[in-house]
């Protein structure tokens, strides 16, 4: 008995010691890596400032999906580092998964270890930590979309994105089904569904008509086409999501996910990625964002694809989105961060960036040379779209820090899973909006 106890005590002691050691080692390890990765670390930066000239300031650029989109930022960072190696500024990219961006920023804000620069679709959630750019040569007028808050420019629009439709051209051609590339040819939604069914029927290898990204922006694009509004155009405090038109749109989308519908519930709920499924060549069409085209150009080899115009409902509509590039405040390297931004937006550099990544420029007066064909379809969508999406996003921008980004998508997750019907979706969205947004009513 005593022996057992001794043995247990020894084992416990050994375990404790190893746990502590592990704790210490991983702690110091992670501290080192964070300090190395976070060029913007305050203490490190203070040291760097105090250090004699000749010391290099390292700016951490937190980014996601650059490799997937063709590595345009990596190329620009390399160019910058080459040009600035004598001036003591170097940028280091920290590329992480898009889904982890928010968590990472949130956690690093809590411990005061923010990166110097961030490229992300949202800056308003973190407005308290973003560096206002009023001390730089950049102004809001240079950019296509609003990156300002309280009259100051905070975030620069690094690329615009638009929602559009990409089809499996090979499958459509095989089936002898035509597709629209001019305004006159645009499908109605019913015509589009009929076309998809025909393509699926006439191609053995196509088993799904349409995949839609697991994204609020994609879903709301269809809803806009059916006449949905988030905010009343006459009264920005009134929530207008609940309407017959919205209901019609929701029912139409949900029908696509029902047994025998043109789409797949597993993709609609995000368990399987629409982009990956489209690349397998078993799908007729993908309602996507323009940025997938780079990936498709590089990685689809066994069939042809092309962007075509989206169907119309009551309206023609697309949703604009995009990514902002901004500097963080309180990093101790603000001046250097601004230098990078100013360099990046010099027309020559920025044009190069958009050309490599096939991005729709967020800065006015830039004409990139695209290597991917068909981007003009997205520009056609942007020009033909109704104004409601822009109006809604302007109102949403006014609710800075009140994040209802994924409410509609979450409601659809539940609806596709059979937990809500179209009325339930509208209830859910309105309730969440009322909970999250201040000073609004139905």
């Amino acid at each position: 008995m005593r022996k057992t106890k001794k043995l247990m005590a020894l084992t416990c002691a050994a375990l404790m010691a190893s746990a502590l050691l592990a704790g210490c080692s991983s702690d110091s390890g992670s501290a080192e890596t964070t300090a190395a990765a976070a060029g913007g670390d305050t203490a490190a930066a203070a040291e760097e400032e105090a250090a004699p000239s000749g010391e290099t300031v390292e700016l951490e650029l937190l980014i996601s999906d650059d490799t997937l989109e063709g590595g345009a930022m990596a190329a620009m960072v390399e160019k910058f580092n080459e040009e600035f190696k004598d001036q003591g500024i170097q940028v280091k990219m920290n590329e992480i998964a898009y889904a982890d961006m928010q968590t990472q920023i949130q956690n690093r804000a809590a411990v005061n270890e923010l990166p110097a620069l961030v490229k992300l679709s949202n800056f308003r959630n973190y407005i308290d930590y973003v560096l206002p750019l009023d001390g730089s040569s950049l102004t809001q007028d240079d950019f296509s979309r609003d990156g300002s808050y309280d009259g100051k420019l905070y975030a620069t629009m690094v690329n615009d994105t638009a929602v559009g439709l990409i089809i499996n051209k090979t499958a459509f051609d095989n089936a002898g089904v035509s597709y629209p590339t001019t305004e006159e040819e645009r499908w109605t939604w019913d015509e589009f569904i009929a076309a998809l069914n025909e393509v699926v029927e006439k191609n053995d290898n196509i088993n799904t008509g349409l995949v839609i990204d697991h994204s609020q922006q994609r879903i709301q694009t269809i809803l806009y086409q059916f006449g949905m509004q988030y905010f009343d155009p006459a009264d920005e405090t009134r929530l207008a999501f609940r309407s017959d038109k919205t209901k019609q749109g929701i029912d139409f989308i949900l029908d696509m996910y029902k047994e025998g519908g043109v789409s797949k519930a597993s993709v609609g709920t995000g368990t399987e990625n629409a982009q990956d499924v489209f690349k397998t060549g078993t799908v007729a069409a993908h309602l996507a964002g323009n940025w997938v085209m780079n990936d498709y150009t590089e990685n689809i080899t066994d069939f042809e694809w092309c962007p075509v115009l989206m169907p119309k409902g009551e309206n023609i509509a697309t949703c604009l989105g995009g990514n902002y590039l901004y500097a963080m405040n309180g990093t101790g390297v603000e001046e250097e961060s601004i230098k990078f931004l100013e360099w990046f937006y010099q027309p020559e550099n920025y044009t190069e960036y958009c050309s490599i990544g096939n991005y729709l420029p967020g800065m006015k007066g830039i004409n990139p040379e695209y290597t991917v064909e068909g981007l003009d379809i997205f520009n056609m969508e942007i020009n033909a779209s109704i104004d409601q999406p822009n109006y809604d996003s302007t109102i949403t921008n006014k609710h800075t820090g009140e994040n209802w980004d994924n409410v509609v998508r979450d409601a659809f997750d539940r609806a596709i899973g059979g937990e809500l019907d179209s009325d339930g979706v509208m209830d859910y969205v309105i309730n969440e909006q009322l909970k999250i947004l201040s000073d609004v009513h139905e």
Binding site: Q106, S266, E272, N403, N406, G417
Partner: protein, 302 residues
């Protein structure tokens, strides 16, 4: 002072001296516990009383989060989901682990060491890997099982669009990943059952089932309780595997507590509210741990 009381003082002093040493040995662990468990728990309690959004906003709002939480039907749904998962996962995991342990301790089994390693191996994998691996098996469009079904001319199963099927995938993956540890515990316990008892039973004409029922099961009682409680705690905390396997879907059919807390805190930026939910989970786990340690104590006394 009499001799006896002097001796008592010396003994007491000696006792104190030993206690100090004992305390010193415990100190690292206590510090570890204070810094990594108690402190975050206290911070969590504080967060749950605020409207903290994970960034700068943090105002004290009293019990508002808790009041909202207990009125929130979604919270109850998630709690029920989690309870359902635990109720299916724990017994299945128990049977699988015990079954494998019994096969591996049997004398007729060949290559039991290799099998033991193979069965334990999933425990060493990261839970994310477990989720991804099973996603390739249960994938609706890509998955191995659906491919096999289709090749055999059978209809595909909506592993990620059918709520029951998705639930089963999380249970199967959970059992697969967790049963190695429990199997080792059972092997240890099974080996401690005196062979004489079984031999005596055999002489008395008992068959295998009777031996199992009358000898094995009673001897495994303390271990059983521990395994069940530990599995229940693990079940309540299941997160990364489910996140990668089903992403909590379809809808919220396989969203369990930790994922709910995670999305509320980090996606919806409602850290205060999420902290309140995690306090409820904390209480549930506390009760389970309390029961488990009670059972361990009574097991020791026996």
């Amino acid at each position: 002072m009499s001799r006896t009381s002097q001796a008592a003082v010396i003994r007491r002093k000696r006792g104190d001296y030993r206690q100090k040493w004992a305390f010193l040995f415990c100190l690292p662990n206590m510090l570890f516990f204070l810094v990594f468990f108690v402190a975050p728990a206290i911070v969590g309690i504080w967060y749950s009383l605020t409207n903290y959004n994970g960034l700068k906003r943090m105002d004290f709002i009293g019990l508002e989060n808790y009041i909202e939480l207990f009125k929130d039907p979604e919270f109850y749904k998630i709690l029920l989901n989690t309870a359902k998962f635990v109720l299916v996962y724990v017994p299945l995991g128990y049977v699988a682990a015990l079954g494998m342990a019994m096969i591996l301790v049997s004398d007729t089994m060949k290559g039991s060491t290799i099998l033991r390693i193979l069965i334990y191996w999933p425990t060493l994998l990261s839970t994310i890997m477990v989720g991804l691996t099973w996603k390739w098996i249960f994938g609706e469009n890509f998955g191995l099982i659906n491919y096999l079904l289709e090749s055999a001319g059978l209809p595909r199963i909506g592993w990620s669009s059918n709520a029951v099927a998705a639930f089963l995938t999380t249970v199967i993956a959970g059992v697969w990943a967790g049963c190695g540890t429990n199997m080792l515990i059972f092997i240890g316990a099974l080996k401690q059952i005196p062979e004489e008892l079984k031999d005596a039973a055999k002489i008395d004409g008992a068959n295998a089932w009777e031996i199992f029922k009358a000898i094995t099961i009673p001897h495994l009682r303390p271990v059983t309780f521990m395994v069940v409680m530990l599995s229940a705690i693990t079940g309540f905390k299941e997160f990364a595997m489910v996140q990668t396997l089903t992403n909590g879907g379809p809808g919220t059919a396989t969203t369990y507590m930790i994922q709910y807390i995670y999305t509320t805190g980090f996606t919806k930026l409602r850290v205060g509210y999420a902290s309140a939910a995690s306090m409820v989970l904390f209480v549930i786990l506390l009760v389970l741990s309390f029961l488990q340690s009670k059972a361990m104590d009574s097991g020791d006394e026996q």
